[in-house]
Amino acid sequence: MKILVTAKRVTDPEMKIKIKEDGSGIEMSSLSFKVNPFDEIAIEEALRIKEDKGGEVIVVGVGSDKAQTEIRYGLSMGADRGIHVNAGSDPDSDAVARILAKLAEMETPDLVILGKQAIDVDDNQVAQLLAEYLGWGQACFASKVEISGNTARVEREVDGGIEVVDMDLPGVISADLRLNEPRYPALPAIMKAKKKEIKKVTPSDLGVDITPKVVVTRLSEPPRRKSGRIVADVAELIKALKEEARVL
């Protein structure tokens, strides 16, 4: 089975993020980066399928030229080769979906697995858009995947519980938290990863226009949580709930 996975470079979720004074973005200095945790789960699932059925796992990273580091991490987990789409910076979800669609046309994988969302922008759109652009089925928020023949049986975590779907392959799956626990890269695998190929392309090589359809105009911190206060009586409570908290 040929499986395409993504490895997005995101800020380390344990770091404190500071928003720039003018709200145009976040302070980038002294930040550390890692693979999007949901993509790590996707890569792990792809590796398990490959270990069971044979085949090839290709890690795709779309972003700046630093995105290569995260692709290399996927290779050190055990993926076979990588594709680095250098777009200068992170394109919006729609552009990423169109880039991945182009790569899927070129590589003809049996399955594409992505993290359900990136923990920096939390869009939760790429997998869905990608499936539409390819005209493939989609099984998002996967907590279990079983492949038999040309069908993927996927358990999806939805609001009401677990939904089980059978999806024809090729198809798109997005990985949710409980799908698996990703392996740590073994030391010998990290050493081997440097010999694996990472093909470098740009969006224009792929004929994809990455002009943003979505533009972030401003970032601001949520209002600071204020401390509670004791009210004199029920009347004052109801007044505060109506006029200040606006929940009544």
Binding site: S76, Y184, P185, A186, L187, I190, M191, A193
Partner: protein, 415 residues
């Protein structure tokens, strides 16, 4: 936390190895080490102990083969990469890192001389082991001979009146080993194999030793109870007894004719490694201190706003950085020369371990009362670091040996 490496030649691979080791140290080692620290020595090695989860995970990821060259089943890590990885593991927990280090000792010792039969019997099975079912240990010190077993080329080392407690006698095609090794043998009570350093020729004193790589399931081998101690409680330690244990000649790595030189080479590695571990634990203490001091408010100000705290942190930082630099430099140099300059590794160990203890001690002072409680990591780091002033050669004795080396060899020639 990460640290700035002053080495401008670091490769992408070096950085990836550092990140991977750090993540393993933080997510796997730290929680397990904390649990083990609060268990009895018997509980630490019991079948269901998290110690075995750690060992199995470490073996599965190849962390037990860091010291073994690639042709025998290890990895092609550069000395710098080994140093980088070991510092991260020690940042996680020194006790568990020592366990992994000694587990590789029989294979490491055998790889220095690389006889076919030992590659096949000892090194390859160890490297291929993915479930921690093969664990080595280093049997060198004895109840009556602690640091005085660690002074190659010092005059007292050749004193024939100093009699070892564990001796090997030639008997036909075998050697027969009798005696005991001390309760300080790391992984002593759980090891399946031993790198045994014992006396063979009494007329040569301690210098008349030999190095064996032996399985511990031979008739006549027995073990003591696991040792209960102040710190590094996650590290199993205990005595090994030899009662006329018959060992084939092929298990002898080196005899008295080259023992002193081999011990010198071995110690040049191990004392430098202790310096690397010291950098790791000192850095761990500094990380904890910065986190605490940036948040703790006293007298209306954060601790970091007080000049005396700023100065203390500066001196702690200085110790972490200087320890790393000397330990790494000594380790890399001595791993890549045929005649090691042991006194440099001794500096890494003596200076480094003293510095690490001072950093941990100063850290507790900054934490104040909170530093004395088990709710914070720092008191474990303090206890773990105290052992290092004695472990792998007490600082006092290594300073004698090191001083002797300096007097005899300084200045060594370059190239």
């Amino acid at each position: 936390m990460n640290y700035l490496d002053l080495d401008l030649t670091l490769t992408e691979e070096d950085i990836e190895l550092k990140k991977a080791a750090h993540r393993f140290a933080k997510e796997v080692m730290r929680p397990i080490a904390k649990k083990l620290d609060e268990m009895t020595p018997e509980e630490v090695i019991a079948k269901d102990s998290p110690f075995w989860d750690f060992m199995r995970k470490a073996y599965a990821l190849g962390y037990h083969t860091i010291l073994i060259p690639e042709p025998y089943g290890g990895m092609d890590l550069t000395s710098k990469q080994q140093a980088i990885i070991y510092e991260e593991l020690a940042w996680g927990s020194v006790g568990l890192t020592v366990a992994l280090g000694v587990a590789a000792f029989p294979s490491f010792g055998a790889s220095l001389v690389a006889e076919e039969v030992l590659i096949e019997k000892i090194i390859e099975p160890f490297c291929a082991c993915k479930d921690a079912s093969i664990i080595g240990c280093w049997g060198i010190t004895e109840p009556d001979h602690g640091s005085d077993t660690l002074l190659p080329f010092h005059p007292i080392f050749s004193d024939p009146n100093i009699k070892a407690q564990c001796r090997a006698k030639a008997d036909g095609d075998d050697y027969v080993i009798s005696g005991q090794k001390s309760a300080w043998v790391s992984c002593g009570t759980i090891a399946t194999h031993c790198a045994l350093f014992c006396q063979m020729d009494q007329s040569m004193g301690m210098a008349g030793g030999g190095i064996f790589a032996i399985p511990l399931d031979l008739p006549g081998v027995s073990k003591g109870a696991p040792l209960n101690k102040l710190g590094q409680r996650d590290l199993n330690q205990g005595e090994i007894f030899f009662d006329n244990v018959r060992v084939p000649k092929e298990n002898l790595i080196v005899g008295p004719e080259a023992y002193e030189a081999m011990l010198d080479i071995t110690l040049s590695t191990t004392t430098a490694m202790m310096g690397i571990f010291a950098a790791g634990i000192a850095r761990a203490a500094l990380d904890e201190t910065l986190e605490y001091a940036k948040n703790r408010v006293q007298g209306g100000k954060k601790l970091i706003d007080y000049p005396n705290v700023q100065q203390k942190i500066f001196h702690m930082f200085s110790k972490v950085e200087t320890t790393r630099l000397i330990a790494r430099a000594a380790y890399i140099y001595n791993q890549n020369t045929t005649t090691p300059a042991e006194e440099y590794s001794n500096v890494a160990k003596v200076y480094g371990c003293q510095s690490a203890f001072d950093v941990c001690n100063d850290a507790i002072q900054i934490f104040g009362g909170n530093g004395l409680t088990k709710e914070y990591l720092i008191e474990k780091l303090f206890r773990d670091s105290r052992a290092m002033l004695i472990e792998d050669g007490s600082n006092d004795t290594l300073a004698i040996g090191g001083g002797h080396k300096v007097i005899e060899t300084y200045p060594r020639m370059d190239g």
